[in-house]
Symmetry: C3
Subunit: 161 residues, 3 copies
Amino acid sequence: MGTISSKLASLGLTLPGPIKVPPGIVLPFRFVNIRGEHAFISGHGPVHSDGTLARPFGKLGRELTVEQGYKAARLTALAILGNLERELGDLDRIRAWTRVFGMVNSAPGFNQQPLVINGFSDLILELFGPDRGAHARSAVGMAELPFDLPVEIEAVIEIDP
Amino acid sequence: MGTISSKLASLGLTLPGPIKVPPGIVLPFRFVNIRGEHAFISGHGPVHSDGTLARPFGKLGRELTVEQGYKAARLTALAILGNLERELGDLDRIRAWTRVFGMVNSAPGFNQQPLVINGFSDLILELFGPDRGAHARSAVGMAELPFDLPVEIEAVIEIDP
Amino acid sequence: MGTISSKLASLGLTLPGPIKVPPGIVLPFRFVNIRGEHAFISGHGPVHSDGTLARPFGKLGRELTVEQGYKAARLTALAILGNLERELGDLDRIRAWTRVFGMVNSAPGFNQQPLVINGFSDLILELFGPDRGAHARSAVGMAELPFDLPVEIEAVIEIDP
């Protein structure tokens, strides 16, 4: 068992299964696209352990509080880690979290996007530590997101090829 | 004639000329910025064959249906391929579609961004095949886009230098 | 004194200090994340010379005119250059401005995002010249931005390692 997997287990966290989108939706892209020493991670949202999209849906500042948004961003980190584990075999192959782009479904006047995306960053830093987990980041307010997801996060990471 | 150019011809598709923005607008950047084995592609919108911005303008969920948005995303792919052909000389130099960021001008409540950006992904996959055309992708809802474009897409690709 | 620093001085420009966010806000990421020959630059907003966020806050098309937005984008360039100078030691290590992603806090109907982000691009091109300063760019309209910033810009650059 890898060190990241052990840490996840020690935190009582399990990674969700493959993402299940609503019936009839075709998503003709790769959730993780590996090119050399980089993995390009498509926009992910929060999912339950069975891979179905996790409620609550909607906008920060309307349907969701900052605390609920934080939790959604943390679930999004787990969704990404689940897909990365299936692609990489072992999460210990992750060398660096290079760039994180955090998109928050934002009602008019909601301006606390960083506090929401911290749910992602905090977990990544807890699992990978301050050096390997360090990342550049933007956390910004979208008009709408697919399936009314409250949060969508894309990223680029460096991997051992 | 390269294999991608042949495929375009066999589909009856022609690539548009250089993008013409409205008079008085200066865009001081490169639509395609080549750095080593990567080409960084600026945000493009749909254009007619003469390079002028293609109507209809406006938002998905208000001025445009999903079908019209799908077509706009397909035209955006052709706009990008036109600029790439002028920069690269031959589209066969494209090795991989690494990352695609699909931005959809979204009216309140419109949440079908993936179905719109599929107009881009479907054409890229048809032209480049499932391996070379594979890409990471986000498809998200913007509050506004320049010139009221319904769709704007940026990307990173890998090329033979 | 490096050539870029000299140019800044000859334009009468000084780089601001480290960004100071409002009290109680924790931003657990790096404003500049260096990986090999690339620096990944987190979303930055306009700041005063002491590093505090620069007013006016709000949206283009509501609280800010295009001219004010242009100035905010120019201040954002200086904020980024300040952080880069602290990280790199010397701005002459910057080899290329690879990708710029310009996000404009946009009121309904505001569609002149490129004219705003030109405040960033024009200064970068003035300082680095047409080749080294060349970049791919998107300039798009966000629903909301943190702290009601009018402009937030992220970027990827190439550096001498």
